[in-house]
């Protein structure tokens, strides 16, 4: 039985059933499946925005309206071809979505949904009040779409246009998510980490919002030519919220969740509108109440929606378990051994009145391991954040490879060849170890999301994954490449962070407590790896509490206490320094 139900067979059966549907199904069914296709396309955009990007929009119905009204107005009043109006609609959508994104996406995540509420309401009122757009009466007489001289006037013929469009959108979306740019999109919620890997998070949020808006616009264009009539009603804010419910109920974490959500909501709505008023003996929008309650329950009990629950009953597709060998990526020039890579000069960091780092100085040279130690709260991680641009210094000068970087953001610094790990692991727990490591190699690829959607990025993709796999193997994680990060123990997750940093081919590696949570043998392997990297000319700055690890590995040690410099020197000097001993063990008189 299980052998009968493979994912591929289910997909083929679904597609065959779909293709045959208009040939025998009743008109009513064809109509509803047409609408499901239109809704699913919009919901797919919301899956990208909400499930992948951690943003959301209530204004998708307005983008649907934009696409529908653009073609309705231009085909009826100016006799334009529907194909031309599609392009016009998409151009306007791009402009609007980029403008809205520019205004709201720099702010906290909740300003986009608030902005889209305002946009959704405004556009709805404009549709209803502009006489050229037919006011509340709308526009009728929209011509059918012609394809290769074939007029697609009937809803049965148009069925194929809708579903081919939707399936193409699903496939290209899946392709996009399984690529360099897609991985960056999937990490957008962890903004600090993503920026520190050199990824422009603002750009990706804009792109996701724009793609979601385009899907909605195309859905609107299809709607106008299916219905051959438009009025403002289906583009209201309420409908925009329903689209979101479809994505959330279906499952915002998977592209097929959009199709499932649109299907479930459409049928449920049809059924509820028929039965609830009879059942309750009163008129009302009871389906609104039911959808609202369902959404709350789903968000409480199954945040990823219904699709993952459904998937539990179907055997999963075997994942590709090999990484194809590929040409190694080009590497950065390694600075001469012993030359200064990083200079920190009089760096002070204040949080309000608290001085976390006071006039700190330190130098790291190529081919050496510099250790930064000190009791908890000494300001070590703060200094790391100043150096890597995650939280810039208040005063002072930081030079990396001779260039001033204290005013640069973490993204720009990453581009210069500095990479880091975090004290609190920042990995995407749902992505595989390989994908997480490949995030580090982001800056070493060039192909964009359009190329990846159409699989024009495969050569580069192989090289990036090969590099990530190579770094993971060096770090001893070769057997975990295809495990999800969440399934690894914390110690190993820290090593994934190191592999991710190494995938960027850094000149300087900043490691924040890399040995914490590791067992003895793992620590030794890590020390060996770091020694090897040092031998290759890499500069390494590490914060660590494990003294055996530090003293056995570091070339020089700098000790901090209360945000200030306490001592600096060779490991054996530090071990016998009375000030250091007092800081760690407490004074005699206390």
């Amino acid at each position: 039985m299980a052998a009968l139900l493979t994912p591929n067979r289910i997909l083929i059966a679904f597609l065959l059933g779909l293709a045959a549907l208009p040939l025998f199904a009743a008109q009513f069914t064809v109509t509803i499946v047409n609408y499901i296709g239109l809704y699913a396309l919009v919901a797919l955009g919301l899956v990208l925005l909400t499930g992948i990007g951690g943003l959301t929009s209530f204004g998708q119905a307005a983008f649907v309206g934009l696409g529908a009204y653009a073609t309705a107005y231009l085909t009826t009043r100016h006799g334009m071809s529907p194909w031309g109006t599609l392009i016009v609609g998409m151009v306007i959508t791009t402009a609007v979505s980029l403008a809205l994104g520019f205004i709201t996406l720099r702010l906290s995540g909740h300003f986009l949904p608030l902005g889209t509420i305002a946009w959704g309401i405004s556009l709805y009122f404009i549709f209803g009040n502009v006489q050229a757009l037919g006011g509340h009466g709308g526009i009728d007489g929209i011509p059918p779409v012609e394809l290769f001289g074939l007029e697609l006037g009937s809803s049965r013929a148009f069925f194929y246009v809708i579903w081919v469009t939707l399936l193409a959108a699903i496939i290209t979306t899946q392709n996009m998510l399984d690529s360099r740019e897609g991985r960056a999109m999937r990490c957008l919620r962890a903004m600090t980490m993503t920026e520190a890997m050199g990824i422009n998070t603002l750009r990706y949020r804009m792109v996701l919002f724009m793609i979601a808006a385009q899907f909605a616009c195309v859905s609107g264009w299809l709607y106008a030519h299916l219905q051959r009539f438009v009025n403002p009603t289906p583009f209201s804010l309420g409908q925009g919220i329903e689209y979101l419910f479809m994505a959330v109920l279906g499952g915002a974490s998977a592209v097929w969740g959009a199709v499932f959500g649109a299907t479930a909501v459409s049928f449920l709505k049809e059924w509820l509108q028929d039965w609830l008023p009879k059942l309750l003996g009163a008129t009302g929008n009871f389906e609104m109440v039911v959808f609202g309650l369902l959404t709350i329950i789903v968000l409480h009990r199954a945040r990823d929606g219904m699709w993952p629950i459904l998937m539990r009953f179907i055997p999963q597709r075997e994942l590709t378990r090999t990484v194809e060998p590929a040409l190694a990526l080009p590497r950065r020039d390694v600075p001469e051994c012993g030359s200064d890579v990083l200079q920190v000069l009089n760096v002070t960091k204040r949080f309000g009145g608290l001085v976390a780092n006071n006039k700190m100085n330190l130098t790291v040279r190529a081919g050496e391991v510099m250790a930064l130690i000190g009791p908890n709260g000494a300001g070590k991680s703060t200094l790391f954040n100043c150096i890597s641009g995650v939280n810039p210094a208040t005063e002072g000068e930081i030079r990396f490879m001779g260039q001033r970087i204290e005013h640069l953001g973490s993204r720009a610094i990453a581009k210069l060849g500095m990479s880091r790990s975090f004290q609190h692991v920042r990995l995407n727990q749902d992505m595989t170890v390989l994908e997480n490591a490949a995030i580090g190699a982001h800056l070493r690829g060039r192909k964009n999301f359009v190329q990846s959607a159409w699989r024009l990025d495969r050569e580069e993709e192989r090289r990036l994954l090969w590099e990530a796999a190579h770094q993971l193997q060096r770090c001893g994680l070769g057997e975990h490449l295809f495990d999800t990060c969440g399934s690894l123990p914390l110690g190993k997750q820290r090593i994934v962070e190191i592999a991710r940093a190494l995938s960027s081919d850094p000149t300087l590696l900043l490691l924040d407590e890399p040995a914490a949570g590791l067992r003895h043998l793992e620590k030794r392997a890590l020390a060996d790896l770091l020694a090897k990297l040092r031998g290759e000319g890499m500069a390494i700055l590490l914060v660590e509490h494990d003294m055996d690890f530090v003293m056995g590995l570091a070339d020089r040690v700098l000790v901090m206490e209360f945000g200030e410099y306490l001592a600096e020197g060779l490991p054996q000097e530090i071990q016998t320094n009375p000030k250091v001993l007092e800081a760690y063990l407490g004074g005699m008189d206390e």
Binding site: G284, N285, L293, I296, L299, Q429
Partner: protein
């Protein structure tokens, strides 16, 4: 436009603006303490106004069965939690507070001659069957996901809005409701004739705002809310229950919303779904305050009221468009001046 019309419009704008200001304060409060973008705030305006209209007409408040049902649900959820924690001693209080009390209230109200009661008593009864919905909604819809992302809380809020609007149609029907003013008539102040209700609205709004300020400055609960708003974890470590803070501010916001509805219903007809747009205008005010500053939010809300009033004179079909487009320059300004973006990690 002559001076008389301008004054009339200004009066209208300030009146509505005062209501929006109250709502925007409630929105900022709820967001600061619980991170919930409280879209259903406006529904309380409609619920308050229409419940008062019902009581004023001698009908039972339609929302009373909702209060009883949600009360029973809260009693069950809280009882289960108490049993799991092994705190069975709390059960009687939980059941009395959430299940018995609402039922008793319903029984009492059934035997009251609602139509003949004094106006203020009617107001109290209407509020009594709307305001409890606030903490009940917090307990059932938001408390279980209190630690989730702002995004998830926002989607829950929108779902609650959907449920409340759907229920509103069932409770109150599609016809609008209006109630008699607190005091009939008006007074001529210089060149303008001012209705007494306008004075009531502006005066009560000012009093409520002052009252909220006193509450936050001086009462222990107000201080607890402020502490929670500044640092949730820190407040919890100091023994301030996040659940209590959440319930408290949802109660306040329900009270502010429902009372705003009762204030405005004598001068505007309120329908079951009117609240949404009113609430959103409160939001525009709150956004002007960056969802953080109370005085800026209140000032922004008054600005929204004035803008709405004057645009309804010049371009009445586009008045909503004009009001909601106002947030674009505001957001643009905030966007260009903000450097820090919240890093909200996955929850």
């Amino acid at each position: 436009m002559d001076a008389a019309v301008a004054l009339l419009l200004a009066q209208d704008g300030v009146t509505n603006g005062a209501i929006y200001a109250l709502l925007s304060l409630a929105l900022v409060l709820v967001f600061a303490v619980t991170r919930v973008i409280y879209i259903p705030q406006g529904e309380f305006v409609a619920y308050g106004a229409l419940s008062m209209a019902a009581v004023n007409a001698g009908l039972l408040p339609p929302t009373m069965w909702l209060v009883v049902t949600l009360g029973l649900a809260v009693a069950i959820v809280d009882s289960v939690a108490a049993i799991r924690e092994g705190a069975k001693a709390r059960l009687p209080l939980i059941i009395i507070k959430n299940a018995v009390l609402p039922i008793l209230a319903v029984i009492v109200v059934r035997y009251l001659p609602l139509k003949d009661l004094a106006y203020p008593v009617q107001v109290l009864i209407a509020l009594g069957f709307v305001v409890p919905l606030g903490p009940q909604i917090y307990r059932l819809a938001f408390q279980p996901v209190a630690e989730a992302s702002v995004l998830l809380l926002l989607i829950v809020a929108v779902a609650v809005h959907f449920v409340m609007v759907g229920m509103g149609l069932y409770f109150f029907g599609a016809e609008g409701g209006r109630i008699p003013p607190f005091t009939e008539g008006g007074v001529t102040l210089g060149p303008a004739y001012v209705q007494y209700q306008t004075i009531w609205i502006v005066g009560i709004a000012a009093l409520l705002i002052a009252g909220l300020a006193l509450f936050f400055e001086h009462s222990i609960y107000g201080k607890a809310l402020r502490a929670t708003a500044i640092n949730r974890t820190g407040a919890r470590l100091m023994g301030i229950s996040a659940d209590l803070a959440g319930k408290l501010c949802f109660t306040l916001s329900a009270l502010v919303g429902a009372f705003s509805g009762i204030l405005i219903a004598p001068i505007t007809t309120i329908y079951y779904d009117t609240g949404f747009l009113i609430g959103l205008k409160g939001f525009v005010g709150a956004i002007i305050g960056g969802l953080a500053s109370y005085p800026l939010a209140a000032a922004g809300a008054v600005l929204v009221g004035l803008l709405e009033s004057y645009s309804s004179f010049y371009a009445s079909a586009y008045k909503e468009v004009i009001v909601f487009t106002l947030i674009i320059p505001v957001l643009l300004y905030q966007s260009l001046t903000t450097k820090h973006i919240d890093d909200e990690e996955d929850h």
